[in-house]
Symmetry: C2
Subunit: 627 residues, 2 copies
Amino acid sequence: MQVHPGEPARNAETMLRWMKEYRDSADLLVFPEMCIPGYLLGDMWERPAFLRECEYWATRIVEETKSGPAVVFGTVVTDWNVKGEDGRARKFNAWIAASKGAAMEHPTLHRPYGIKTLLPNYREFEDVRHFCDTRKLSLELQKPWSDFVEPLNWNLTGENFRVGIVLCEDAWEDDYAQKPMEVLAGKNPDFTLNLSSSPFTRGKNDKRHRVFGAKARLLGAPLFYVNCTGIQNNAKTLYTFDGRSSVYDCDGVVLNEMPPYAEEVLIVDVPVGKAGRASAQMKFPPPFSIGEVHHAIRYGAEKFLQSINCRKVVVGISGGIDSAVAAAVYREFLKPEELLLVNMPSRFNSETTKNLARTLAQNLGCLYLELPIEESLSVSQKQFQNLQASSLDGKVKTNLSLEGVVFENVQARDRGARLLAAIAAAFGGVFSCNTNKAEMTIGYGTLYGDIAGFLAVLGDLWKEDVYALGRHLNTDVYEREVIPEGIFTVVPSAELSSNQSVDEGKGDPLHYPYHDRLFFAFVQRWNRATPEDLLEWYLEGSLANNLRLPESVDTNLLFPTAQHFIADLERWWNLYNGIAVAKRVQAPPILAVSSRAFGFDHREFLGRPSYTQRYLELKEKALDDGK
Amino acid sequence: MQVHPGEPARNAETMLRWMKEYRDSADLLVFPEMCIPGYLLGDMWERPAFLRECEYWATRIVEETKSGPAVVFGTVVTDWNVKGEDGRARKFNAWIAASKGAAMEHPTLHRPYGIKTLLPNYREFEDVRHFCDTRKLSLELQKPWSDFVEPLNWNLTGENFRVGIVLCEDAWEDDYAQKPMEVLAGKNPDFTLNLSSSPFTRGKNDKRHRVFGAKARLLGAPLFYVNCTGIQNNAKTLYTFDGRSSVYDCDGVVLNEMPPYAEEVLIVDVPVGKAGRASAQMKFPPPFSIGEVHHAIRYGAEKFLQSINCRKVVVGISGGIDSAVAAAVYREFLKPEELLLVNMPSRFNSETTKNLARTLAQNLGCLYLELPIEESLSVSQKQFQNLQASSLDGKVKTNLSLEGVVFENVQARDRGARLLAAIAAAFGGVFSCNTNKAEMTIGYGTLYGDIAGFLAVLGDLWKEDVYALGRHLNTDVYEREVIPEGIFTVVPSAELSSNQSVDEGKGDPLHYPYHDRLFFAFVQRWNRATPEDLLEWYLEGSLANNLRLPESVDTNLLFPTAQHFIADLERWWNLYNGIAVAKRVQAPPILAVSSRAFGFDHREFLGRPSYTQRYLELKEKALDDGK
């Protein structure tokens, strides 16, 4: 089911409707984790009225099992009489199993619900902030935590079953000292339900099949993975939930998998124990495919617009790849009159890119405007001409002028904050932020200028992913050249000065096939790389291997000497840890598709970029050797 | 000591310098929690090179005890051979006690360090994301966690002492099922050290004296609270650390407290056990005083500027209270030539406020500019005149015009993103965001306009606090009327249309003495209030009491009927949970002074504002009764 975060009544309505609809055709309906409250709710858990509302709907659903099928669902359960570690009423990330109008008592916890053992507290997850788990209970009750992982003896269909029920992370136990699935396997469940609220991450589905397949084999019995669809967010970072609820047989083979992002009910005849082996392995799309990413982005953007009750989007298009891809994505689900592309040239924009922008608008068939910014720029320039500020007593004075990069940023802000924001408001819509992850990493963009808008729809894609997504849109989605070929081949450039002329082949100070991967190592690598690691790899000749550089990148050509390598490394490292943090704080929300999106999943602080002693030694040696 | 987050070399340098300096005058030097790495570091803990750097400096400091005094300090300790729950090397928030060139072995843990038992995971704290605690170890090692809370038998000064050592939260045990101080008290330490990294919160010091006083009495022996100074941030929310290291005697009386925000060494003769009772109670400023808040804001703003290597600030001044207070705060530590005030009138700005702005600039004696925005506004108006967008095939068309609130926001963005951003860049500085907490709560402000700048220096102050701070600045700081009286008395107004004319007494749609407290209940109340609670209080006549309304607020006058009350409540609730979330995502960092600042300490999501069933029932009844 699609879970709407913070809307218990709406979520319960879906559940009650399905309970009626499947009254005769199902014995047991299984819903996802936290399907009444939603999952990523910030600190909404601190509102007692909200917790009571969730209780109200859970009670209604349990009552409905008088006449409907049995249910298992995930929700928040509040123990009003006990304090949690934040000093408020204690809450559990819990499951409730109910039939015949009553919730089943947990056989060892002796409560009308079961609770999660492993509370994820990494990436965007922060269960520990709000919920108490069996491990903490175990210290308090002085019983082993494993006592609380116990199959339910449940009469369904007139027959008794031992039903294992766990919540999401409980099956992702491999990095924990406590292993609920191992414990459960020792207690011989006939089948096991995993209720999840698990956001899409590129490549995760493939991994999930491996992990859950192994768990099903461990259990020696079928495992049901029940995940929600929809979108949820932590304000700064927006996640899509791809559903793909699956059934694994006792050999870990996938018997069924629901299509990604589809809200529907799948009726399965439960293959109990060793029965019902899969006849053939299901086929899945290749992991990490751009098609999978495209699906998440399209779904996320559309659902996010719906969630803010908006149907109209403005995209500033420059003739470059990022804005073209963003526009093409929005055009997939917006009508021609709901999408407005705006090209805002200054004296620095080439005919090349202006024409490409126009061709794109033509291909997409949506609304289009060309609004030059020269006149407003000259008002600003005039206002700053010979501009002097002084104190009213005349004792101190200073001159102010718009030159160089200062004037470049004035152009970007004139486009973003003056034009696009006003156009979006006049249009009754929002405007798109087209920045990509490489730019976000180093703050290559102007705050209130191109780093502005309602959603950074491509903000979790490296530059090379943006190109790949553009190719995919032309080839597999539109099946024609909506994004003109010239947009793929023109040099990426901000066109904010005569030093960035695309017709002279000048543009961004980045060689994306290299820098995408350097920045990946800063941001997204499992053990984050720092200048120390990178310089070490460079010096020992393992850089290409460690960064997984494509063969086309010749680092000897990019960096003739160690000095060049170091200068480049420090330039981007200082930006990534410095001004780019300040820009990210005020950047639009990001649609997450990777295992580490900027925002809530990439916690950071604004401080001084620092270098380790070991780095300083390596650097000194490398520079000495180069002399 | 002032701890610089993410700068181990710089922090260790302070420690090594003091170890040399106090070689002869101290037997034991105690440093704060996490004084080598810093504490609020986002996910920097995931960089192995950084963890190795911290190890390097910890080792250097331990070695230094060969010739220096004994030390106790807090730092990160990495167990490279064991996985943490995030799958990376396991890390501890640890203390190290060292003398004679070696770290003391923990008597029960049998490691050269001790670890924190209680990991705070509320507000801005997220220790659990990164660190393992004694409670998790206890499950794994199958020993009670309390075994790992044990005084050190330590020969200092030739004599043996039982030294209790705990970290910060360990003493704030009251809401936890596990109580390390109680355990420690049962093991008779001669004295106990609490190493902290505890940010300033209004009123916290007073509470800390109560809590730590009680713990000292429980221990029956002196308790040393050692806290750091400096600033640290979570990118979005900036915290000041006020130090105020204190010594409590065995009766819980404060023997010594260091001045707030002072980095210095205090040498204390340790009053062991029941010895050395305080002769007289120390005097403290009244809790929750505006002076305390002023100190935090001034310190935070100055240190933050230093941390980003900036000395120049631009403040857009409107003639209203927020910008005046911000300007007066910056003028406290910036020279006249480092502070530039800019008034940017349009046709809607009154002579009243323009004159007040000018007088303020005169009183502060800093740089001043008057830059009207009429000319640039008319360029925008002209550009939108009869503006029509259409598709290139002419099939769809739309008209766009700048009217009403759309044009109001154009003015605000012209000031913020066009003028102030360019002026700040030309000046070589940054510009101030002057928004207050009431405005932030409901998004009363324009993104890229007045919600823009390098720091929302007043972003954690309610409107009435801003007035109080203004009074304090005149009376106690400047001791003259730097903020003109007229700024206190003029009606608060955005002056963006003729409906907001201050000379006609028109202004913000808020009655701050009431709405400050309503918004406080949404945002900052321990158990967050929702419309259900508020309507219930209103109907049962307990609203004034529950919101702690000042007597001057007559809710019967404000809301002649329940319908008025409900309309007002829903208006702000919808904004708080709706568009204001989107604005906060892109708002500048906030300087935190309260127990719940927007940003990292006020987690939220962008969804639909929701109302509980109980609220809907109460509302229906109230509206029916009103008929």
